[in-house]
Amino acid sequence: MSTDNRSRLPKLFTHIALILLAVPALLPLIWMVATSLKADTQIFGSETAGVTMKTIVPHPFVWKNYPEALHAIPMVMYLRNTLKLCLFNVVGAVLSSAMVAYGFARLEFKGKDVLFMVMIATMALPAQVTMIPVFVVFRWLGWYGTYLPLTVPAFFGNPFFIFLLTQFYKTLPGDLSEAARMDGANEWTIFARVMLPLARPALTTCALFQFLWVWNDFFGPLLYINDVHKYTLAYGLQQFLSNHGAEWSRLMAASTLFIMPILILFFFAQRSFIEGIATTGGKN
């Protein structure tokens, strides 16, 4: 397929436009890192100076904002909590979604199409509608203040992943599972031995998304976590922000530390991220 015939703007114009747009895309992050390395005198002294290279680049570089941020916000503890939640959510959501998707993609049963539509429809249901009764039930179970409300639901599949994986399973050739069936394997064996290994790229995408969501999740901890020792990074950062709003250098150092793992993960797994989003959005 040639791309020569596509509508094309002159290349120079495209480059200029892309570079001009890249500035606002990156500047907030650059400013965040720059601020995290500045002395308070530089931050609060720039009031009338406007923006020059002199005000953007830290001088002197103040590395101690980072240890200070770590001292003020117990980020190591928050990190441990967040990773714990991430681990359970990733394992739970990926395994359960893979299983459900296999049922929808490869098996025949009564009411399948209707149930699949219902599942898709639930993605459009605003969380606000179910959030109060769900909260009431978790509270009644005595789960308020524990991680259970933030982990157990993951084990019941995620419609977004089920959809993505169903699409993926459908593209796999039927021969392999047919051959296994001939050898007398049942569906559970075929799922575990044939399909799961083949679906690894799609499963990776799901795992990454789930990790990202749990890492970012603010609302869940806001509703269910009441103990400082159980705070996650997102919630802990917000709490610090609301108590020490003007400590910009420490706040930006903490934000940088909070974002960094996500950025590193993204650079290693760019394709999985971008293609995962693209597939679910493109084929509705």
Binding site: R8, M131, P133, N216, G282
Partner: protein
């Protein structure tokens, strides 16, 4: 035969059991019980008390904050969703050109969309700081005295819309995938007909992209009506309720005032509003969305 049929069904339901059980526990049961709760007075501690349609009556006639929240949210959706679509499509069109360094540009534009919301909110609070923030610093440089942004009821909603555009890269990659799926022969045919680039954009690219635009429109509307974290972290609804988004108001009603019955009624109104808009959008599809060829 019959036992094979039964076995097949059982296996099928076995595989989808996790979702099905989760759906009953975490979606359909709460969905139905929230209807009931919306007709009660309920503070979580003591059992719900049936009050009939009182919550809905109060919401319509006696709650100016509800009207404010609805209006603030509708306005946010009406501006941020179309703006997000235009910017997302424009960016994707630029990235669909045949120039060097595309993957670098794509990464740069996608990056903001994976930055955690709380971090984005923190960064923008700092960028938009009226006295020492970067934005007003830059405006000062070119001789403009910037507004107080999040502290000014006129500018606070615009600040949040601006911030939402920063994350437009997430939908951009969906448009980009849609653009790659447009078959080349359509462009060849358009070229044979002597169509210029603008005509090709209008008569081939945009129509072929409408299914993806439609998907993003629906998701955008749903997202806009659930807009919460940014407002909670940055403005708490202020100043003067100018950023009192619907989901935020509902949250305050439920968890600050423990007014769970009233909040459930609010949730159902939210649901009705979203459904109405979505039905209208789905109906409008015939007029502007082109499926397949």
């Amino acid at each position: 035969m019959r036992s094979k049929f039964l076995r097949e069904n059982l296996t099928g339901y076995g595989f989808i059991a996790p979702w099905l059980i989760g759906f009953l526990l975490f979606t359909s049961f709460p969905f139905l019980s929230s209807i009931y709760l919306s007709f009660t007075r309920y503070n979580i501690v003591t059992p719900p008390v049936w009050v009939g349609g009182q919550n809905y009556k109060m919401l319509l006639h006696d709650d100016p904050q509800f009207h404010t929240a609805l209006w603030v949210t509708l306005r946010f959706a009406a501006v941020s969703v179309p703006l997000g679509i235009v910017c997302g499509v424009a960016l994707a069109l630029l990235l669909n050109q045949n120039v060097r360094g595309l993957s670098i540009y794509r990464t740069i534009f996608f990056l903001p969309s994976i930055v955690p919301t709380v971090a984005t909110a923190t960064i923008f609070l700092w960028l938009l700081n009226p006295e020492i923030g970067l934005v007003n610093g830059m405006l000062h440089k070119i001789g403009i005295e910037g507004p107080a942004w999040l502290l000014d009821p006129k500018w606070a909603p615009w600040s949040l819309i601006m911030m939402s555009l920063w994350g437009v890269g997430g939908s951009m990659v969906i448009y980009l995938a849609g653009l790659k799926d447009i078959p080349a022969y359509l462009y060849e045919a358009a070229l044979l007909d002597g169509a210029n680039p603008v005509q090709r954009l209008r008569h081939v690219t945009i129509p072929m992209l409408t299914p993806v635009i439609f998907f993003n429109l629906i998701m955008g509307v749903i997202g806009a009506f659930q807009y919460f974290t940014e407002a909670y972290v940055m403005t708490k609804g202020g100043p003067e309720d100018s950023t009192l988004y619907y989901a935020l108001y509902l949250f305050q009603r439920a968890w600050r005032y423990l007014d769970m019955g009233y909040a459930s009624a609010l949730a159902w109104v939210l649901f009705a509003v979203i459904m109405t808009i979505n039905i209208v959008l789905f109906r409008s599809q015939k007029k502007w969305v082109h499926y397949g060829s």
